[in-house]
């Protein structure tokens, strides 16, 4: 099903739409993109604005996956 992946803060990429049923599939597709390679290991992930850490997390059509790069508030 179709989900949306968005890139927050300094990653400076437009959102992508993709077919995926789990976060593991999102991971596989993003790893294929060389320009994202350096970001993936440093990014935390949110699903519909809730932080997630489990690759088996199932996805629903219309879900929004966000990549959050290293932070520095204050």
């Amino acid at each position: 099903m179709m989900i949306k992946v968005e890139f927050l803060g300094p990653i400076a990429r437009e959102p992508m739409e993709m077919e995926a049923t789990t976060l593991a599939e999102v991971s596989a597709k993003l790893k294929a993109d060389e320009r994202l390679a350096g970001w993936l290991e440093k990014c935390a992930v949110a699903l519909n604005d809730t932080m997630v850490t489990d690759l088996t997390t199932p996805l629903q059509a219309g879900d929004r996956v966000s990549l959050l790069p290293p932070v520095c508030g204050g």
Binding site: G9, P10, V71
Partner: protein
């Protein structure tokens, strides 16, 4: 939680939070005021904030503080903030000194580690991600 475009009015925020709790019988009030340091020739810093997750992060701290009989407050700047002005204020109110001192430490440290805020140096007309001072959030790398 309060977000402002540009630098914070530190005195206004300090005083308003104090007044709001003036009858709440809290014995200890500890604000933490973060001010932009002039270093490495920067003119200022700039901030991106992802508000939905910041709000959730903050609500969890509100609940954690409440379980200890305390409250937490937070204000942060969005966008450009010049050196020697304030970009961040957090605060704890508690009946008890020990709770307040431990809570402000844990709250500020978790803020630095996990609040979804990205910092950029403003230098020579450019806005440069402060990657060297940034830290991956808890759970980073799940997609790698």
């Amino acid at each position: 939680m309060e977000l402002y475009h540009g630098c914070l009015d530190t005195k206004e925020i300090f005083g308003r939070w104090l007044d709001e709790q003036s009858d709440s019988n809290y014995g200890a009030y500890i604000p933490f005021v973060g001010t932009i340091r002039a270093e490495d020739g920067i003119e200022g810093l700039s901030f991106d904030i992802y508000e939905p997750i910041l709000q959730q992060w903050f609500e969890e701290w509100v609940a954690r503080a409440k379980a200890q009989g305390a409250i937490v407050k937070m204000a942060h700047a969005i966008g450009d903030v010049p050196v020697h002005t304030s970009s961040y204020i957090s605060a704890v109110f508690s009946p008890k000194r020990r709770v307040a001192l431990e809570l402000i430490d844990a709250f500020v440290e978790d803020f630095k580690a996990n609040a979804p805020i990205w910092k950029y140096d403003l230098k020579g007309g450019k806005r440069l991600y402060a990657e060297d001072r940034s830290t991956p959030m808890d759970g980073a790398g799940v997609l790698a």
